[in-house]
């Protein structure tokens, strides 16, 4: 893989929907991650983070929608896509009867690394995650923090272009949490990272972009700084418009006081979420604008859940994490 442009799209998630039987786990999840991004995938427990990650890594198929890793479809060009992913699932997958070194050698071989390079690289990653003194220890005897590091070592072993980390700081002690975050920031210099978490401060410490997911839907996508700004107070209005999406979006954006407009799904009539500063009631203004264009306004109401409400369900304090 040649060195791509800095803004090259590395992960493209489009309209992912997943049902387990009749239970909807995620619906219409879309986001993109560019080269060099550390994307925080933030949501309360049970919001669909793990499902999204499992689909993105090819472990589960989506009910509908696509994921592309560096341009390769995870379903139809699965092996090519999988070669480019380093994955650390939420429950760190380790063979407890193997030594750290043997485990890394096995994983490296499966990723098709040449033997010489693998030897050298094992030393490097053991260096990076700082597990020298345990390299010939059986994994079953390691403490939780060191297991986490071993899992991380496995994920970065083959120098993947995309790193997918599912709750990488869960269940390890506070000092190790700090170290792990430091490490992820370091890794972010060379890898594109998606990191899921339910801990709000983690995102602002580590990530440069955030996607917030709640009850299986993406409710916001922004930088941590902007998000903090929006957290101070926003009003969200949900509307359903029968009209050309290409024109509706710019119109809504052009209205005074509107901070963000997003479209939910591809359906017709389209559903839009309009975000504005708290206290600014834009409903009349929006209705007028749409009706004057001759489009059909089918629904207009305050969105059911505000960002604040979601944040309340996130872990906002360090101590509660894990």
């Amino acid at each position: 893989m040649a060195v791509g442009a800095a803004d090259q799209v590395m992960v493209e998630v489009q309209n992912l929907t997943k049902y387990y039987g009749n239970f909807m786990a995620i619906e219409d999840v879309s986001f993109t991650v560019r080269r060099g991004d550390i994307l925080g995938f933030l949501g309360p427990n049970g919001s669909g983070k793990t499902t999204t990650m499992r689909i993105a890594t090819g472990y589960l198929p989506p009910t509908s929608g696509t994921v592309r890793i560096a341009g390769y479809d995870i379903q139809t060009q699965s092996l090519e896509a999988r070669r480019r992913i380093g994955y650390l699932p939420e429950t760190v997958p380790l063979y407890t009867d193997m030594t750290v070194e043997d485990y890394l050698e096995f994983m490296g071989t499966l990723r098709g690394m040449p033997k010489q390079r693998l030897r050298q690289r094992i030393n490097e990653v053991i260096d990076i995650v700082k597990i020298h003194e345990y390299r010939s220890t059986h994994i079953g005897k390691l403490s939780k923090g060191y297991r986490q590091r071993t899992g991380l070592a496995q994920a970065i072993l083959h120098e993947p272009e995309v790193l997918i980390l599912d709750e990488p700081t869960i269940g390890i002690d506070p000092i190790q949490v700090v170290e792990t975050r430091q490490l992820i920031r370091e890794l972010g210099k060379e890898h594109t990272i998606i990191l899921s978490t339910h801990i709000l401060p983690e995102v602002s410490m580590v990530c440069n972009r955030v996607v917030i997911i709640h009850e299986g839907r993406v409710v916001a996508e922004d930088t941590p700084a902007n998000l903090a700004e929006r957290l101070k107070g926003t009003e969200r209005i949900e509307l359903e418009v029968r009209g050309p999406a290409r024109e509706v979006m710019p119109l809504l954006r052009s209205l005074r006081g509107v901070m963000d407009v997003r479209r939910l799904g591809e359906g017709e009539p389209g559903t839009y979420i309009v975000e504005s500063r708290r206290g600014a009631d834009l409903r009349e203004q929006i209705a007028q604008a749409i009706v004057s264009k001759g489009w059909g306004l089918l629904k207009l109401n305050p969105a059911s859940i505000s960002l604040e409400e979601i944040f309340l369900r996130l872990t906002v304090q360090e101590e509660e994490g894990g």
Binding site: Y59, T91, P93, Y95, D97, T109, L110
Partner: protein
């Protein structure tokens, strides 16, 4: 192929890293040894391995699932299956690698029984033909049993359940020819063809019939294919 061998090698090492390989080898030797001794210690006994061949095949009903029970069940329990299935590896490479590791243990165990053959040559004058066909038969029979055990292991994250299901399936396949004698007509013919035991008799007598060889290979390949499908189906649930 490299992936298959890497997985096979890892599993084989893991067998020897735990007491499993030793226990399972020792038990096999103890049982076959008993039948071997009792078959040759009679007066005018023949210098053959036939005495322990049939008991050995019946013993596979429990032996094979005990060997294969952890291969997939443990991966599911540890969560490592997620890693294995998201690595750039085909599902069939995973299945084949694990199967080969269990076959390696089978071959290792069978090679220990060559000690019996040495004794036969030392004290008697055995026919080489039935020895070769007997071992070929055991290898084929054992491989089919291991494939069935592996399939059972892919169904669950509980090793005990995997062993019980594997033994149950093998017992059905082993006793199918008994059932064939009870029912009549076409069902009887079908059951006889399915039976693992019915196809073994020729090998024990020293006859290598292509029909029987093909049967065991087909069963093995088909069950491994089912295992691969089952792994894949987890993605569609």
């Amino acid at each position: 192929m490299r992936n298959t061998l890497a997985i096979a090698w890892k599993e084989t090492k893991s067998y020897f890293g735990s007491p499993m390989a030793y226990v399972i080898g020792a038990v096999f030797l103890a049982l076959t040894g008993y039948f071997f001794v009792s078959s040759i210690s009679r007066p005018f006994a023949e210098a053959t391995i036939r005495g322990w061949l049939l008991p050995a095949t019946f013993f596979f009903v429990f032996w094979a699932p005990a060997l294969t029970m952890r291969l997939f069940a443990e991966e599911q329990k540890l969560g490592t299956l997620e890693l294995l299935l998201t690595a750039p590896v085909h599902d069939w490479e995973v299945v084949l690698g694990k199967f080969l590791a269990s076959v390696a243990i089978l071959v290792g165990t069978l090679s220990l029984t060559l000690y019996y053959v040495l004794l036969l040559f030392w004290f008697g004058d055995p026919d080489v033909g039935p020895l070769l066909s007997g071992y070929l038969g055991l290898l084929l029979y054992g491989s089919a049993s291991l494939a069935i055990g592996l399939f059972a292991s892919s169904l669950t994250s509980n090793q005990i359940v995997a062993a019980v299901v594997g033994s149950g399936l093998l017992l059905l396949m082993t006793l199918a020819d008994q059932a064939a004698q009870i029912v009549g007509g076409i069902a009887s013919r079908v059951l006889e063809q399915i039976s693992l035991t019915a196809h073994f008799a020729d090998f024990a007598r020293g006859v290598i019939d292509t029909h029987n060889v093909v049967y065991y290979i087909l069963v093995t390949v088909f069950v491994l294919f089912l295992t691969e499908r089952n792994l894949d189906s987890r993605r569609w649930r």
